[in-house]
């Protein structure tokens, strides 16, 4: 996936991949400093400091990549989503609420191989009872009620949680299944939280 | 001796508004340290205040009071130049006394 992205970049926008002008340009100096000063700890290993294709393009374009490049890379990400084999995209909203509340996972203070959560309430308003919600992302309150909960919407919500960058290349939202933070079942349960007519989100 | 207190005394007429910031771990005896061991009970048991050597205030406190507590009380009949001294003692026998001179109002 990343190789394809790199080839696309080379073909369409060579200027973006031009090597840094001088050894002491701030970007190079910053990356060198990070590599030198940071240490791995717990599950947070040094590879996490190296930009992957999406991070690289977003960092170099201030999160505003050229439209053609963004669209091609979004399509690539979309093509990389592994949809559930059983074709079911909606799980249990009660479990979804717990996953949305859980902010653990992927930090150096989290154990390896232990399921984390989606940290959803850190950024979003979701259920009606939870007033301790963040405002970094848009409100998801009444999501299914206002946007519908048919197969197309289920596919969008599932895909967005799996890999948010498939829909908006430089979105601030993490790519939860792409990076292995959430499992297939966990995403299904979050889809239910947002779309199930029985979920408090849609009452 | 234990860490110093910070005493603020403000005169309003002849009423002295006193606020004392005390440095003390105030362990409840319920907390577990990083290794899982219970941290022993360690808390301020008495606080006394003296004005020019004469006792004017005494309080008995429990482990329910939080770490590095702030203690406030008002005192009538104080004037500029008076010596206000505060003493605390804890359950381990440790104590601390600090003194301030009452400033002009």
């Amino acid at each position: 996936m990343q190789r394809l992205a790199a080839l696309l970049l080379a073909a369409t926008a060579p200027a973006i991949l031009a090597p840094p002008a001088a050894a002491d340009d701030p970007r190079t100096a910053a990356v060198t400093a990070l590599q030198r000063d940071f240490k791995p700890r717990g599950i947070a290993t040094m590879n996490f400091l190296v930009e992957d294709g999406v991070q690289a393009i977003c960092n170099r374009t201030d999160d505003k990549p050229p439209k053609e490049i963004a669209q091609r890379l979004e399509q690539d990400q979309l093509a990389g989503i592994r949809w559930p084999a059983d074709g079911k995209l909606v799980g249990d909203w009660k479990s979804g609420e717990r996953i949305a509340q859980n902010g653990r996972g992927m930090t150096w203070s989290d154990p390896a191989n232990a399921p984390g959560g989606g940290s959803c309430y850190n950024c979003h308003r979701i259920g009606p009872q939870e007033t301790s919600f963040g405002t970094i992302g848009p409100s998801l309150f009444q999501f299914g009620k206002t946007r519908g909960s048919g197969p197309d919407m289920q596919r969008y919500v599932y895909g967005k949680i799996y890999n948010a960058k498939a829909f908006s290349l430089c979105s601030q939202m993490p790519r939860f299944d792409h990076v292995g933070a959430l499992s297939e079942q966990q995403i299904k349960d979050l889809v239910a939280l947002l779309l199930d007519p029985g979920s408090p989100v849609n009452k | 001796m234990a860490d110093p207190m910070k005493i603020r005394a403000k005169l309003d007429g002849d009423v002295l508004d006193v606020r004392v910031l005390m440095a003390h771990p105030m362990e409840t005896g319920q907390r577990k340290d990083g290794a899982g061991n219970l941290v022993p009970l360690h808390f301020i048991q008495t606080i006394t205040a003296q004005l020019n050597g004469r006792p004017v205030f005494q309080a008995e406190t429990s482990q329910a009071v939080s770490r590095n507590p702030v203690f406030g009380f008002k005192l009538k009949g104080a004037k500029t130049g008076d010596k206000l001294s505060i003493t605390w003692t804890d359950n381990k026998g440790d104590k601390r006394t600090d003194e301030v001179t009452v400033p002009t109002a």
């Binding site: 910053a30 400093a33 030198r36 | -």
Partner: protein
């Protein structure tokens, strides 16, 4: 007259714009949020009146004057940028370039440097457990709190006259916007816009002085949770943990660059001294 009318018209247009709301939706908790924020602010004002951070300023002042370490020397000849032993006003003029080390240093980095060079303490030992917990406050934390308190009421003014200082700012800016880690977060993901919060924690926008100061001035800060004294070194460490990055080195140059960016972005704002937090 005309201006007022124009403003009224504009306001009316904005008010009339349809806000997408499903039928039967409960009123968004904007009112509750304001009341909550107000209560928090009242609470904060009471706390700030008697901040336990002052106890650590006292402790730091004693550590500054006391001869300690293998060299049995005090820190009274430590140069924080305004000359040996000058503490008043030094904190708000950091980070800055130091000729003796040939690099830009922030307050805690410089204090550790003085503890090592003047007093003979071991840098690796100081870096081993550099952050406070409920039973222990490391000496550099108390000293940094003391030094910061000596800049109380002064305007933030880190110099940007040397090329190294300007480079530190530029590198800090790159780090601030560098998206990486398992969640693709940069500092800017949370701190790059006005009016955002994570759960109920307000997130100041570090790219604007009026906003950047709201964060910068809170540190060093006494945290009520656990009753611990923390500096910016702790705050940045914990930010990178939550950003899903690996761990930055204590008083490392990457953090100094980032602190230079933050301090310069707070330039001109008044530093109120060590803060207090939930």
């Amino acid at each position: 007259m005309t201006r007022t009318l124009a403003l009224c018209a504009a306001a009316a247009l904005v008010a009339a714009a349809p806000v997408p709301q499903a039928a039967g939706q409960t009123k968004p908790p904007a009112v509750e949020r304001d009341a909550t924020t107000e209560e928090f602010e009242k609470f904060r004002a009471v706390l700030e009146a008697d901040n336990p951070a002052e106890l650590f300023e006292l402790r730091g002042a004693a550590l500054w004057k006391t001869p300690r370490g293998p060299k049995n020397a005090s820190l009274e000849r430590c140069d924080l940028g305004l000359g040996p032993g000058v503490v008043k006003g030094a904190y708000v003029q950091l980070p800055r370039y130091f000729a003796d080390t040939g690099k830009v240093m922030d307050a805690e980095q410089r204090i550790v440097h003085c503890m090592v060079t003047l007093q003979g303490f071991d840098a690796a030992a100081l870096a081993k457990q550099p952050f406070s917990n409920e039973t222990r406050t490391p000496d550099p934390v108390a000293i940094t709190t003391f030094v910061a308190g000596q800049s109380r009421g002064m305007k933030i003014a880190p110099p940007q006259t040397r090329p190294q200082e300007r480079e530190a700012y530029a590198v800090g800016r790159e780090i601030f916007f560098y998206r990486a880690g398992g969640y693709d977060f940069s500092c800017a993901s949370c701190h790059g816009e006005d009016g955002k919060r994570i759960r109920t924690q307000q997130l100041p926008n570090f790219t604007r002085p009026e906003e950047a100061i709201r964060s910068y001035q809170g540190w060093p800060g006494y945290r009520m949770t656990g009753g611990v004294m923390h500096t910016l070194q702790w705050r940045l460490n914990d930010c990178f943990r939550q950003q899903r990055f690996p761990e930055p080195g204590y008083v490392s140059d990457s953090l100094t660059a980032l602190l230079t960016y933050l301090a310069v972005n707070s330039k001109g704002q008044v530093y109120k001294g060590p803060g207090i937090k939930r």
